[in-house]
C-alpha cells in the first residue's frame, strides 16, 4: 500500500524554522514507522535525520510525535495509525535537526535525582537478600528506557522546562522504593523542590505515552505521598 508521510523538517544550516515535507512510501501494513523513515533516508532523501538503534522498543532512541502522540517509531506498525501519517520531533526540548532534539537537559534532570543505589553497609561476599514482594515494588519503574516520551508529553514540561519531569521522578521512584537503598530521604528532599514532583498536575499524558507501559502518573503520586509522609 502507498503511505503518505508528512514530516516536520528542520536543518539548522539552511532553515530559519521548521517546515513540512511530504513523502509517499510503498509499505506493508506490518511494517514499523521506523521502516518507513529508513526507506526515505536510504532510498530517497539521505538528509532526513533521526535517532534509532535497536528497532524493537528497548533502546529508547526513536521517540517522536506520530499523528499527535508520543511513540517510539520502531514500536508502531503502519496498520495501527491513520494515513496520512504526520511525524514531528518530541516537544519541549530544543530541536537540533529534523527529528533529533537536544537530550542533554533531559539527562541532566535524570542525574539530579541520584539515580543509583546508595547503601553504606558492608556488602559481604554474597548477594543482599530481597524478598520477591520487595523486588516487585520496583518492577514497574525499573523498566524505564529513558526515551523521554513521558517527559516530552507533559503539558507542565512544555510550559516550564525547569520542571524535573516524569522520567526523572520514575527513576527516583525506582530507588526510593528499593528495599536495599538508604538515600530515599535525600531524593525526596530533591523532589520537594518547586520544580519537583508537585509540579505534576496529573494530566496522565506521561502514562499514555510510556512505550514500556509504566504507570508513570501513579509513580509520581507515590513519590508525592511519600514526600508528605516523610515530613
Amino acid at each position: 500500500m502507498d503511505i503518505d508521510l508528512k514530516i516536520l523538517r528542520y536543518d539548522p544550516e539552511r532553515d530559519h524554522k521548521g517546515h513540512w515535507e511530504y513523502y509517499k512510501v510503498e509499505a506493508d501494513p506490518e511494517e514499523r514507522i521506523l521502516d518507513l523513515l529508513h526507506k526515505i533516508k536510504w532510498f530517497e532523501d539521505g538528509t532526513l535525520s533521526f535517532r534509532r538503534s535497536c528497532a524493537h522498543g528497548v533502546c529508547g532512541s526513536d521517540a517522536m510525535v506520530i499523528n499527535g502522540e508520543n511513540m517510539l517509531a520502531c514500536q508502531v506498525l503502519v496498520k495501527e495509525v491513520r494515513n496520512p501519517i504526520n511525524i514531528e520531533p518530541i516537544r519541549g526540548l530544543p530541536v537540533v535537526k529534523d527529528l533529533i532534539v537536544d537530550m542533554d537537559p533531559f539527562f541532566d534532570s535524570y542525574k539530579k535525582v541520584m539515580p543509583y543505589l546508595v547503601n553504606e553497609n558492608e556488602t559481604g561476599e554474597r548477594e543482599r537478600l530481597q524478598s520477591p514482594e520487595e523486588r516487585d515494588r520496583i518492577e514497574d519503574t525499573t523498566k524505564c528506557i529513558l526515551c523521554a516520551a513521558c517527559t516530552t508529553s507533559c503539558p507542565v514540561f512544555w510550559t516550564a522546562d525547569s520542571y524535573i519531569g516524569p522520567a526523572a521522578i520514575v527513576n527516583a521512584h525506582r530507588f526510593i522504593y528499593d528495599s536495599r537503598d538508604q538515600e530515599s530521604k535525600q531524593r525526596l528532599e530533591i523532589l520537594k523542590d518547586v520544580n519537583g514532583a508537585f509540579r505534576c498536575r496529573t494530566a496522565f499524558n506521561c502514562t499514555s505515552a510510556c512505550p514500556r507501559g509504566i504507570q508513570v502518573t501513579k509513580a509520581i503520586e507515590d513519590v508525592k505521598r511519600e514526600t508528605l509522609l516523610n515530613n
Partner: protein, 580 residues
C-alpha cells in the same frame, strides 16, 4: 569543520556492558573518557533478555567447573580452556557485584537471586539441565546496562555521548590516541591517550534478518583490521534459533528455559529427534540447524513453509506474564498474536559474533597469531575474541563475558597507564580522516552508489550465501558478490552534505566496516573445511580435530584476507563427540 584536541590517560570506545564495566574499574585512578556513538543507555547490552550464568547454586547444587565443562562443550571444543575457567570462576563474584551495585534481579522466596534453565547449561557434565542463569525477568541486559550506567553516574565518569570514533593512531607499534567525529556538530576531536579499550559490540548488520541493533556495524574490529590487526575466528557467527519471523527480533532462550517447546507444521516436538536428552534446550547452533533442516525438508509452517513455532501455550498466563513479559509483549506488538493462546512463528536470526579482535585473558589486543601484544590497545565484549565462546557461545555467557572481561580490560589499562608516560599526538593526526570525510561529502550523489542500496545488497547476499549452512559453492559465490560490492563502495556517495547530525555520512563509514567484516567472515569460512559449532559446511559435515583444532586469524589484504592459525589452548576437557 573544527578540530579540537583533548588529552586523557585512557579512552574507552563504546558504552555497553563491557565499556561501562571497564570504565568503573579504570575511572577512579586515571583521567578517563568514555566515547560512544549513542547515549550509553541505548547500547545493545540493553536488549539482552534471558540471564547471566553463574554457579551460585541458589536453586540446586552447582559448581563453576560444570559451567566451564558446558561452555567448552558448547564451544565445540574451540574455546581456550584456561580463559573459560576464568570466565566461569569469576562469574560468581561478577553477579554478586552487580547485585551490590543495585541490579534488581528476580528473587527466590528465600530472597536470593533467582536462577533459571538455559540452553546447553547442565549439572554434572550433562546429567540434567541446570538452574544457572541469574535473571531479572526477561530484561536482564537492560538491568545490567542501567546498573552499570548508574554506577558510572555515581562515580562521575566523563562521557562523550554521540561521538563516533573513526580512527586510531598507532606509531612505532604504540597507541597514541583516537580520532572521533562529533555527531551534533561535525567537528573532529583528537583524543591524545596512551590506552584505548574497544568495546564497540558486534556486527550483526552484515545479515538481513538479525537481532542486532542498526548500530552494530563492527566499528572497533573494523578500525583495527584496517590498521593491520587480525580478526580471530570470523567464520563462527551465531544464529539464534528464535527470532520473530521475518523481523528477527530476539525471543529469549529463557522461553524454552521456562518450558517452551519448538514445533514444526505438524505440531511435532522435533528437537526430540535432534537432541534426545535436553531437547529444546540444546545449544543454539544445534537448534538453529534443526530448524533450518525442518524447513528445508518441508516441515516448516506457513504459506511458504519457512518458519516453525515456539509454543508457550502450556505455560499458563501467570508464568508468561511474570517471567517472560517483554518477549511476549514483542509478539503482541509485532505479530499481533497472543502467545498465551497461540504458538509464535519463529526463524533463526543473526545474533552474535564469536569472533572479533583477538585478546588475551586480560583484554590486551594481540597483533598476530603468536600472541604479540599491541601496547596500549585493549578490547572486550562482543567486539573481542578471548576466546571463551569458541565455535558457539552458550546463552547467558555474553552478559558474563562483558562484565568479567570488561573489568579485566579496565585493570589492564590501569596497569599500563601506571607504567608508561604520557606521549603526544600531532595536530595533523586527523588529516587522513578529514580527507576521507571531505571526499565523501564532495562526491556528487548517485542512486547506484548510495549507502542504502549497497548495504541492502550486502545484507541480502550474506543472508543467502553464508548463513547457517555453507558450501564451497555458496561461499565462492559470495566472494564474487563481495568483490563487486567493494567496487561499488569505492564510489559510494551521500546525499547529505551538512555538518549537523550527518548520520548518512556515518552510515557510509560504517558500511566500510560491514564490508570488512563480511570479507573476513567469508574468507575464513571458505578456508575451514570442517563443520564445528556455528560454522556448518555441508560439503564437510564432520568436525575434524586432527586438522582444525585451531583459531583462524584473518589479516586484511586489500579487499580480501590472508589467514594464519593458532592452536586452541586445551585443558582438562578432552574433545569428544558433541551429543545432547
Amino acid at each position: 569543520m573544527k578540530i579540537i584536541k583533548h588529552s586523557f590517560d585512557g579512552v574507552i570506545v563504546g558504552a555497553g556492558g563491557a565499556g561501562l564495566r571497564a570504565a568503573i574499574e579504570a575511572a577512579p585512578h586515571m583521567k578517563l573518557a568514555v566515547i560512544t556513538k549513542l547515549y550509553p543507555t541505548r547500547s545493545h547490552t540493553g536488549a539482552a533478555q534471558g540471564g547471566m550464568s553463574a554457579a551460585l547454586a541458589n536453586v540446586e547444587e552447582d559448581n563453576w567447573n560444570w559451567h566451564a565443562f558446558d561452555t567448552v562443550k558448547g564451544s565445540d571444543y574451540l574455546a581456550d580452556q584456561p580463559a573459560v575457567d576464568i570466565l566461569c570462576k569469576e562469574a560468581i563474584d561478577a553477579v554478586i557485584e552487580l547485585e551490590h551495585w543495585g541490579l534488581p534481579f528476580s528473587r527466590l522466596e528465600n530472597g536470593k537471586i533467582a536462577q533459571r534453565r538455559f540452553g546447553g547449561h547442565t549439572v554434572k557434565e550433562g546429567a540434567d539441565p541446570a538452574f544457572r542463569a541469574c535473571y531479572a525477568a526477561d530484561r536482564t541486559g537492560h538491568m545490567i546496562l542501567q546498573t552499570l550506567y548508574q554506577k558510572c553516574v555515581s562515580m562521575g565518569v566523563e562521557f562523550f555521548d554521540e561521538f563516533q570514533v573513526l580512527d586510531i593512531k598507532i606509531e612505532d607499534g604504540v597507541c597514541k590516541g583516537v580520532i572521533a567525529f562529533e555527531l551534533a556538530t561535525g567537528d573532529i576531536h583528537i583524543f591524545e591517550t596512551r590506552a584505548v579499550t574497544f568495546a564497540t559490540g558486534g556486527f550483526g548488520k552484515i545479515f538481513k534478518v538479525s537481532s542486532n541493533a542498526h548500530s552494530l556495524t563492527g566499528d572497533g574490529p573494523g578500525i583495527l583490521y584496517q590498521k593491520g590487526i587480525p580478526l580471530e575466528d570470523m567464520e563462527f557467527y551465531q544464529f539464534h534459533p528464535t527470532g520473530i519471523y521475518r523481523l528477527g527480533i530476539l525471543l529469549s532462550e529463557a522461553a524454552r528455559g521456562e518450558g517452551g517447546i519448538l514445533r514444526n507444521k505438524d505440531g511435532e516436538r522435533f528437537m526430540e529427534r535432534y537432541a534426545p536428552s535436553i531437547k529444546d534446550l540444546a545449544p543454539r547452533d544445534m537448534v538453529s540447524r534443526a530448524i533450518a533442516t525442518e524447513i528445508s525438508e518441508g516441515n516448516g509452517a506457513g504459506p511458504q513453509n519457512d518458519y516453525v513455532y515456539l509454543d508457550l501455550t502450556h505455560l499458563g498466563a501467570e508464568t508468561i506474564n511474570k517471567k517472560l513479559p517483554d518477549i511476549t509483549d514483542f509478539v503482541r506488538t509485532y505479530v499481533k498474536i497472543e502467545p498465551i493462546n497461540e504458538p509464535i512463528p519463529v526463524q533463526p536470526t543473526a545474533h552474535y559474533a564469536m569472533g572479533g579482535i583477538p585478546t588475551d585473558v586480560n583484554g590486551r589486543v594481540l597483533s598476530d597469531e603468536k600472541n604479540t601484544v599491541l601496547p596500549g590497545v585493549y578490547a572486550a565484549g562482543e567486539a573481542a575474541c578471548v576466546s571463551v565462546h569458541g565455535a558457539n557461545r552458550l546463552g547467558t555467557n555474553s552478559l558474563l563475558d562483558i562484565v568479567v572481561f570488561g573489568k579485566r580490560a579496565g585493570q589492564s589499562m590501569l596497569d599500563y597507564v601506571s607504567k608508561t608516560k604520557a606521549s603526544s599526538i600531532s595536530d595533523s593526526s586527523s588529516d587522513d580522516l578529514v580527507n576521507k570525510i571531505n571526499n565523501l561529502i564532495e562526491k556528487e550523489h548517485t542512486d547506484e552508489f548510495s549507502v542504502g542500496r549497497i548495504r541492502n545488497d550486502l545484507q541480502e547476499s550474506m543472508e543467502e550465501n553464508s548463513k547457517i549452512f555453507r558450501t564451497e559453492e555458496t561461499l565462492n559465490k559470495q566472494t564474487k558478490i563481495l568483490e563487486s560490492l567493494r567496487e561499488r563502495f569505492e564510489n559510494v556517495t551521500i546525499f547529505d552534505k551538512g555538518k549537523v547530525f550527518n548520520t548518512e555520512l556515518m552510515e557510509a563509514i560504517e558500511l566500510d566496516y560491514l564490508l570488512d567484516m563480511s570479507e573476513s567472515t567469508v574468507v575464513s569460512a571458505l578456508a575451514r573445511k570442517e563443520s564445528r559449532g556455528a560454522h556448518s559446511r555441508q560439503d564437510f559435515p564432520e568436525r575434524n580435530d586432527t586438522d582444525w583444532m585451531k583459531h583462524s586469524f584473518a589479516f586484511k589484504n586489500g579487499n580480501s584476507a590472508t589467514l594464519r592459525y593458532k592452536d586452541v589452548e586445551l585443558g582438562k576437557y578432552k574433545p569428544m563427540e558433541r551429543k545432547y
